[in-house]
């Protein structure tokens, strides 16, 4: 139970070291797979070559525009999803009857691939950039609504009662209690949503067609069999997703300080 103080292994350093084990393991497995005859190394590039490609693509600025486009689309989609999803989720979650009526729609569209719905979005939003953003926003929105509503429905009732008995209006109960009570679950939703928005944007850029973005880069690299470029693009995409998640983890730690107590 006692922790000895070690000046070289401060908890901070240890935490960072731990966070680096994951990526290191990934690279190690990749390296071994590439180096041995496990898988055809024609289709799996050398990890270090890939990092070199990544570095030079970033350095030369050739990737920046694509990265920027994807980031912009993802954040745009996510912002819409969060802004519209949290209040709707709270409203739905706080009223069991309303929730039951829309549950079908939420679960239905959550289970329908965004790409299959694309013709519909094309109808509504046209072929431009916004259709892609809209389809990602819609997918992410469903996830936010689902999680927030779930959080509200599963929250403990005593605090809501406490607010009500103090004379809080429906709106104040919303804002002051339900919002906070559902926050841990809201963060689950936001983290799932930001990753999903990124995935849908990439898929849309890959398969629906686009003139820029990381998905476009991936499919182009795939078509010319520039595997290093392709994996470099996938890597940076995953890293962006991880970055978003780290951001939300930090935010959550800071905001939901009462979790588990």
């Amino acid at each position: 139970m006692k922790t000895a103080a070690n000046p070289f292994l401060s908890p901070h350093v240890l935490r960072i070291a731990r966070a680096l084990i994951g990526p290191a393991a990934l690279v190690a497995v990749w390296w071994v797979a590439n180096d041995s005859a496990w898988v055809s190394n024609k289709l799996l590039p050398n990890p270090f070559d890939t990092f070199a490609t990544l570095g030079s693509s970033l350095w030369s600025g050739s990737m920046t525009a694509d990265l920027g486009a994807t980031l912009f689309r993802t954040l745009y989609a996510f912002a819409m999803a969060a802004a519209a999803g949290i209040p709707v989720g709270i409203a739905l979650g706080s009223n069991d009857r309303i929730y039951r009526t829309v549950e079908f729609l939420v679960d239905f569209f959550r289970s329908t691939p965004a790409t299959a719905m694309f013709p519909l979005f094309l109808l509504i939003f046209g072929i431009g950039d916004f259709a892609k953003i809209a389809v990602a926003a819609f997918s992410a929105w469903l996830v936010v609504v689902f999680n927030v509503a779930y959080g509200v429905m599963n929250s403990r009732k005593t605090r809501i009662l406490a607010a009500r008995v103090m004379g809080a209006s429906r709106w104040r109960v919303f804002r002051d209690v339900l919002f906070w009570e559902s926050l841990p679950q809201t963060f689950v939703g936001l983290r799932m949503a930001v990753s999903l928005a990124l995935v849908v944007i990439i898929v849309a850029e890959m398969f629906i067609g686009s003139t820029n973005g990381m998905g476009h880069r991936i499919i182009d690299a795939q078509q010319v069999f520039d595997l290093q470029q392709m994996y470099a693009s996938i890597l940076i995409t995953g890293a962006i997703g991880y970055g978003f998640n780290v951001l939300f983890i930090a935010l959550e730690k800071w905001i939901v300080h009462w979790a588990g107590r």
Binding site: T158, A162, A163, R164, V165, M166, D176, H257, R261
Partner: protein
């Protein structure tokens, strides 16, 4: 209707009740069941205005359920609950939950928890601060309220919960076992505080307590409940002058009233 309690179910003689007492809360024909098993059926009750009513009864008889229904926190199956001339919404209620740990907002600092009902009433920042300061001084709080509820011990949390309930100068104050987690000294202290507040404001107080001494000490009326299906076993009147103090505890009337309550209670529980 001038009598404080509907005695139609009670075989005891009604005690002499001052004519001045008016019912603040009137319960008529109340029905409540959990999963088909009734807790209350055709239950009638009057809670007098400006008086302290202590509710005393065995575990699980429905004390919390009763005051929850009165405060509109859980629905009742049938019957009417009327507030003296006002609706429930128009009445400022203070409520200390038995489950006080889960009733504080962990996302607010303790001080903001106390301030919350004031902000709900639209009080200005300055007024809020003044009121909270007043409470802190009145309760002689020595620990730092700028921490979050989960950082306090059980007793401290209960004190914060009481302060929050008192903050908006409620017209009716419900306290569900407010002393259960408080230490000896603190119990005495809060007891005196409640009496002081009662004397100063004449708030209608409903206190659930398992400590008979405490109940009688605080009460104008001791409402004794039976086991389920719950009825009013008796409503004992105790009119010792206020402020009450240590001498009250050793007074004849006190000892007699307490003994009588205990008697009724034990009769009911052992039935």
């Amino acid at each position: 209707m001038n009598s404080v309690v509907d005695f139609s179910h009670v075989q005891h003689e009604p005690p002499a009740v001052p004519a001045a007492e008016r019912a603040h809360i009137t319960v008529r024909g109340l029905h409540k069941a959990f999963g088909g098993v009734p807790v209350y059926s055709d239950f009638n009750l009057d809670l007098p205005k400006g008086r302290v009513t202590c509710v005393f009864g065995p575990n699980g008889c429905g004390k919390s359920t009763l005051i929850n229904m009165i405060a509109g926190l859980i629905p009742h199956d049938a019957g009417d609950i009327l507030f003296d001339g006002k609706t429930l919404q128009q009445t400022t209620i203070g409520y200390v939950f038995q489950n006080y740990r889960e009733a504080l907002f962990p996302w607010m600092r303790a001080i903001d928890n106390i301030r919350y009902p004031l902000k709900l009433k639209g009080m200005s920042e300055a007024d809020c601060d003044a009121r909270v300061q007043e409470l802190i001084e009145s309760f002689d709080v020595r620990f730092d309220l700028n921490r979050y509820p989960y950082e306090f011990s059980g007793g401290q949390q209960q004190l914060i919960s009481i302060m929050r309930a008192l903050a908006p100068h409620p017209e009716v104050l419900f306290l569900d076992e407010p002393f259960s987690a408080l230490d000896y000294e603190m119990t005495l202290f809060i007891r005196e505080k409640l009496q002081e507040i009662f004397q100063a404001t004449g708030v209608t107080m409903i206190v659930v307590s398992h400590d008979l001494e405490e109940a009688v000490y605080l009460a104008n009326h001791i409402l004794l409940l039976t086991k389920r299906p719950t009825r009013v076993a008796d409503n004992v009147f105790f009119d010792a002058a206020r402020p009450r103090d240590l001498r009250t505890l050793s007074s004849d009337a006190f000892v007699r009233t307490k003994a009588r309550c205990l008697d009724i209670f034990q009769n009911e529980v052992r039935k």
